[in-house]
Amino acid sequence: MSEPLLDVRGLGVDYRGFRALGDVSFEIRAGETLGLVGESGSGKSTLARALLRLIPASRGQILWRGSDLLRCDSATLRRHRRDLQIVFQDPVASLNPRMTVAQALAEPLRVFEPNLREVERRARTARMLERVGFAASMLDRYPHELSGGQCQRVGIARAMMLDPKLLICDEPVSSLDVSIQGQIVNLLVDLQRELGTAMLFISHNLAVVRHLSHRVAVIHEGNLIESADCDALFSTPVHPHTRALLAAVPDPIGRRPTKSAAT
């Protein structure tokens, strides 16, 4: 087995004495998708943010290709950051309303490749735009002219501009209509297959997690309570809380009463 891309050991986050994240350890290998499921308040987003050092961790290690992101100097952190990108839940709020699609996509290049020639920057922006299924006419649009699903495709394109090694997706489809969630999920799967990007895919939507994960971890009250290969987790969940999560998905065709098992 190759060495993991990301090796998280005993990561914890406290907010003024409240343990949002207890003691979380897991690995992600290159090209692998780890699905992370849990309810609101279970610590999913705290974990995503702590991994990128958007919020301070209270303890533990985040080993990124061998070096600890919690203890490296700012120049090293900055160098690693281009390899670690994130897609947020609210696709509209995560775009700057005053930037066109072209400007939003060019921004990562301006930051990390400031010496790039304008022509080259434009070419790469256009290529990525096409990659997420947009016509070139989208380049001059502003976020308010786009639907939620389109905004999220721009968010994904922006995160992929620097060809990251790990993409963290924090509930990327939860605010979208069910009818278009599949488009975003398929896009992420395609990007991963073509570019070999590893993913941490966070969601409370089990059907979506099942669709694109290789392995799934379940988080509950700040701790991982179960982790298994995707098929195994869905066919034979072990932890009672995992079973409750699975039981809560409405069953439309059988019209089974959704008597909730979880509390």
Binding site: E39, G41, V178, I180, H204, N205, H211, D231, A248, R255
Partner: protein, 327 residues
């Protein structure tokens, strides 16, 4: 089973349109919707963002901004309510006709205790004393299964979880024994286990009493788990309406069938591609030409692009608006 008495429906809308003037024309959010909700019935209304499902019921509730031009008719228990003056509307709004919104944090007042917010409904609509109102408020929290309701009455909205807040909203909507509760995406801001609890709760409180529900959602799975009948909306119109079991088994409109495929179902085998609906519905400002779904429809022909299909009866309980229905 649904009781379908010959008596007048609780809510009956006829050709409701909602238009907004925009530079150079109008944007049509709702393009003529006729539907009825019988006593004790749960009607599910399904559609994507922008289909007009929320606009329709905000119009019924008299909650749209003054810029909206509303035409058509909406009768609540036999009384026309479209165009009623706010003070007239307030006789029924909040008591006999109530609404539960998507975001329970936004619909509760942040600086008032839960108990006060519940009690003032009864003081205002029923002329109850504050003391009596607080007692009824306590029963209301108990009814929506909020543990330790006495303590909750003394708390502020931010001290409650999203699921608890939505229970409070449901409890509030039931305070004056309404005839109709309109629930607009009541579980969309909640995660899956809490969603299941809220749907259970709606089912249980409804079983004990006689009120009707309109359940609005973009997720057919959510709607189907509760509704007796489903109306599917697309680009401001109803394109199919049928009893839930019939729609789930034998959808007639290609749009309904495609929406069905997008419903999360863990019992289906894992597939390589996740189903989704490509393309977008026409915007409200675009003029209507033919069937609005034609550009996204696998069955569309030349005819669909210029001739709009009318919503027609298929049998006593179902209607569809399609030139080439699936069955």
């Amino acid at each position: 089973m649904t009781v379908r008495p010959a008596a007048r429906p609780t809510l009956k809308t006829q050709e409701v349109r909602v238009d907004y003037p925009i530079p150079g024309g109008t944007a049509a959010a709702v393009r003529g919707v006729s539907l009825s909700v019988s006593a004790q019935e749960c009607l599910g209304v399904v559609g994507e963002s922008g289909s007009g499902k929320t606009q329709l019921f905000l119009a019924v509730m008299g909650l749209l901004s003054s810029g909206a031009q509303i035409t058509g008719s909406a009768q609540f228990e036999g009384e026309e309510i479209l165009g009623l003056a706010p003070q007239e509307l307030n006789r029924i709004r909040g008591s006999k006709l109530t609404m539960v919104f998507q975001d329970p944090m936004m619909s509760l007042t942040p600086h008032l205790k839960i108990g006060v917010q519940l009690a003032e409904v009864l003081v205002h609509h029923r002329g109850a004393s504050w003391r009596d109102a607080e007692r009824t408020a306590l029963q209301a929290l108990d009814r929506v299964r909020i543990p330790d309701p006495r303590r909750r009455l003394q708390q502020y909205p931010h001290e409650l979880s999203g699921g608890m807040r939505q229970r409070v909203m449901i409890g509030m909507s039931l305070l004056c024994e309404p005839s109709l509760v309109i629930a607009d995406e009541p579980t969309s801001a909640l995660d899956v286990t809490v969603q299941a609890q809220i749907l259970d709760l709606l089912r249980d409180v409804r079983a004990g009493t006689g009120f009707s529900i309109v359940l609005i959602s973009h997720d057919l799975g959510v709607v189907a788990s509760l509704a007796d009948r489903v109306a599917v909306m697309y680009a401001g119109r109803i394109v199919e309406s049928a009893p839930t079991a019939e729609l789930m088994r034998d959808a007639r409109h290609p749009y309904s069938a495609l929406l069905m495929q997008c419903v999360s179902d863990l019992r289906r085998p894992r597939t390589d591609r996740m189903p989704f609906l490509a393309g977008q519905a026409p915007g409200a400002a675009e003029p209507e030409r033919g069937c609005a779904f034609a550009p996204r429809c696998p069955r569309s022909t030349e005819r669909c692009t210029h001739e709009r299909p009318a919503l027609e009866d298929v049998n006593a309980t179902s209607q569809v608006a399609c030139h080439y229905p699936l069955r």
